[in-house]
Amino acid sequence: MLSTAIILFREVLEAALIIGIIAAATRDVVRRGYWIAGGILLGIGGSCLVAAFAGAISGLAEGMGQELFNASILGLAVLMLSWHNIWMARHGRELATQAGAVGKSVGSGSESVTVLLTVIGLAVLREGSEVVLFLYGVIAQGDTSAGAMLAGGALGILAGVAVGVALYFGLLRIPLRWFFQATSLLILFLAAGMAGQAARLLIQADVLPTLADPLWDVSGILPGNSVLGSVLHALAGYDPQPTGMHMLFYAVTFVIVLVGMRLAAPKR
């Protein structure tokens, strides 16, 4: 039961942290709750579809369909997060000043919200299909421990969601002056981390070379499967033994988005 809880906790954690950050970043957007719930529901629906066709997807591209599909999802999420950050760099200040006065004036923020809805959907989709497959396996096995395993699974999911909720309320405590900088920085790290993960999948699929393997190894200091390692992995793409290609994707994404934000920021 405990092992099931841990597996599902790890699967859910990443999506929960992403949703926590995005829910905080869009705190002033009207009817944001519907967008977030919509993104989660779309993601869950998509997960069931992907799980149902897992065999077919795996079989594509000489058995590398799964890696390529997941890398595509990550690539798209990176694009959308980057776009959101650059958009916020341009409009964040006016949103922050107007939002307090008239709630409706954030209507212009809904463009960016569409993007975030999709990112939430993609985040749920990415890990969700594995959760669905795993739970399907537990039920299909149908042995006596299935009930305990499902209970453990529910516990793991709840724990993951709780961490996301805690992050959300933690972020809301940040004073408004620094709030947009803080959430933008978190989203910047998310995007870079996802780009690194996409590189990792493309290496696994044998599409990209490693360049250096590993570039460094700090698994003795902070193992990737420790609690802190898992949280840092979800938040900032932490990998104790990254390849050269992984860090190249990470650094290039980080720099491009940062430069884009600087260029988009209104001159004062």
């Binding site: 058995g63 390529l68 798209l76 959308m80 776009w83 396996g137 299909a140 696994q204 044998d206």
Partner: protein, 114 residues
């Protein structure tokens, strides 16, 4: 790029996916690994160091399994009654543990590069 509605997202996704479908490089060595009753057969694989290894995993169980190894940097779900491919290496000589995350108590194995 003012708006990115769902249709555009779907298009981007399919274009990205399509780009990656280009012909893939071949590995130097093919290894077969079977999953049966949540066990790996064989539990110990010997491969040559310093070259790419293509591991073809044949999951004969009805339930899915996730082949995972931190050392090999591999993580892949293999649906029930189907095969999955993982390419690893070139590896330095040494022992690399792998396991099935969905049944980690029983599904354990080690790959030895020499």
């Amino acid at each position: 790029m003012r708006k990115m509605p769902l249709a555009v997202s779907a298009l981007t996704l399919s274009v990205l996916f399509g780009t990656f479908m280009a012909p893939l490089a071949q590995a130097d060595e093919d290894i077969k690994l079977v999953i049966e009753n949540h066990l790996f057969v064989p539990t110990e694989i010997r491969v040559s160091a310093n070259q790419k290894i293509r591991i073809v995993i044949d999951n004969r169980d009805a339930t899915p399994e996730e082949f995972e190894s931190q050392g090999l940097r591999a993580e892949k779900v293999i649906p029930g009654k189907s095969k999955g491919v993982v390419v690893v290496g070139p590896l330095k000589p040494g022992r690399y543990a792998f396991y099935g995350e969905f049944n980690a108590k029983t599904a354990q194995g080690v790959l030895i590069a020499e």
